[in-house]
């Protein structure tokens, strides 16, 4: 890389200033506010604010609702990740085997990524709407009574599908790129070495895809945990009976609807720590352990 030496000490700072300003105003400042607030308690009218130390955090670990939210988040994140990655890998393998019209197919599959999460949520909300939706009608013909408004399981399935659907395009693109970077001669060599298609996939393709897979694993978990707010808000709003109240939605609900700023801030600090942990794992592991 080329190193540029600035004679003037001010110029480099000026060049960095816009980015630093944005980072400070929109990321560091709110984060600091959240941390500060997580140690405070406000009365209902916002008149008195007292320092309460770690009691907001302590309250979280004794709150059955928060522990439930942790569990819901885990189930949700794991389901979304498995569903979206599994499905997109399947699609990517199919595209990789195609000879013609690959680009058309790829382009079409990328479209969902351009759909806003809230719109995706509404879309699936309509499809699965117990009164007017297509899917409940279809499911009724096989004897399943779909109702995500009353059934916890149905609600979870709905938000998982809506969230995973949007992420499939993204995963798909990475998987296709990953697959195409594996030389065809490796699979041919394996074919000559007596490995059938399934064996080739598990012995050659999957291991060589592992850097991509691991990267997507982290990205998908982060997506499911933090970027799915709009999907939840547009479909179930965390219900029924807290069944789809994932952590990021609970932060919003407790803070802006419940007006419990201290607890909400403490929850967002917990989320922040999780993001930091995932990022560290991403950088430490992806770079070193998974490479072949």
């Amino acid at each position: 890389m080329k190193r540029t030496i600035f004679r003037n000490q001010l110029l480099p700072w000026l060049l960095l200033a816009p980015q630093l300003a944005i980072t400070f105003v929109f990321f560091l400042w709110p984060a600091a506010q959240a941390i500060r607030q997580s140690f405070l308690r406000q009365d209902a009218f916002g008149i008195n604010t007292t320092f309460v130390g770690l009691s907001n955090f302590k309250a979280l670990w004794t709150s059955p609702e928060y522990l439930n939210s942790l569990q819901v988040t885990a189930v949700f994140a794991v389901s979304v990740t498995i569903l979206s990655m599994g499905f997109s890998l399947l699609l990517a393998v199919a595209v990789d085997r195609m000879i013609r019209s690959t680009s058309v197919y790829t382009t079409l599959l990328v479209w969902p990524y351009a759909v806003a999460p809230a719109v995706a949520g509404i879309l699936w909300w309509f499809i699965f709407n117990p009164t007017i939706g297509v899917m409940p009608y279809v499911l009724a013909t096989v004897g399943y009574d779909w109702n995500h408004i009353s059934s916890k399981t149905d609600a979870m399935i709905l938000v998982v599908i809506a969230s995973a659907w949007k992420q499939i395009s993204y995963n798909f693109l990475f998987f296709v790129a990953g697959l195409q970077s594996i030389p065809a001669s490796l699979r041919e060599a394996a074919a000559i070495d007596g490995a059938g298609p399934v064996r080739r996939f598990f012995d050659i393709t999957l291991p060589l895809l592992s850097p991509t897979t691991f990267f997507l694993l982290v990205v998908n978990i982060v997506y499911a945990m933090f970027d799915t707010f709009a999907v939840i808000d547009a479909t179930t709003e965390g219900g029924p009976a807290q069944a789809t109240n994932i952590m990021v939605y609970k932060v919003y609900f407790d803070g802006f609807v419940g007006q419990n700023m201290g607890s909400s801030a403490a929850q967002s600090v917990v989320l922040m720590l999780i993001v930091i942990a995932l990022t560290v794992i991403q950088f430490r592991w992806v770079e070193k352990k998974v490479a072949y």
Partner: protein, 335 residues
Amino acid sequence: MASITLDKIGKIYSGGTRAVGDVSIDIADGEFIVLVGPSGCGKSTLLRMVAGLESISEGTVRIGDRVVNDMEPADRDIAMVFQNYALYPHMSVRQNLAYGLKNRRTPKAEIDRRVAQAAEILQIGPYLDRKPRALSGGQRQRVAMGRAIVREPAAFLFDEPLSNLDAKLRVTMRLEIKDLQRRLRTTSIYVTHDQLEAMTLADRLVVLNGGRIEQIGTPLEVYRKPASTFVAGFIGSPAMNLISNRAVPHLPGTAHAGTIGIRPEDLTPAPDGPIDMEILAVEELGAQRLVHGQTGGERLTVTLPSGVELPRTLRLAWRPGSLHLFQAESGRRID
């Protein structure tokens, strides 16, 4: 070990493009056949059809006494060495060698024995537990050969295995491959675009052009009696001079030929020689020099010893009996 028979093989791609047509070759057990030709001549396609990596549109391929047209690559009892080696990057050298045997449910002890034996033959013992990326180009090449050897297949297929190596290593590996094939006596088909590699390795050469066979023969047969102007220009370095009959009017016995071929080394300076060449450029190779010039509007190359002062024009004569005559339209050889 087995013979391989290609009977009127053809390859037509789904778009209707013909890559290979009417190729018949009988390869004897233990023979080293080299398919040589310029890029796009169909030589790799042909090899891949034998390997089972490309479907066969026309004709039949037999390995031993089995027709293998519709067999999976794994069932054809062949091993292939790829241009980019195609070593499995996530497996150690040992695992790379053992993979084909493991898939065929070879007993563990037998795998170990064969891997050890191949490592011994190719001197890759010290690297068995390394990953391919920790090996040099030559070592990777050896591992790729090892993967073919351990299988003890009926035939080896080589797809330009040396073209990723530097010039010096290529010469060394060329000798090693030849030596190895002599010891193992395994039927081999080797694809290359390098005519020198083809000449030095082959028991018999198959010269391909435009998906068809131009000539089959031992390297010396092909060199001494090229069947067409294409072969004449392709085999031999520097390439044979191919000049129009009209350009040099004084060559006896060439009246019915359209093109006359003279190898650069068959031309010698002679004060009363029939060819008058104007020198245009000289390439010094050390022991000898290549002198390029023209006569009657045709380019001509002569190999001459180094160190002699060159005049502006040279009078040349050819060694008696060294002329190659070709038909005007078809370019086929006239004997």
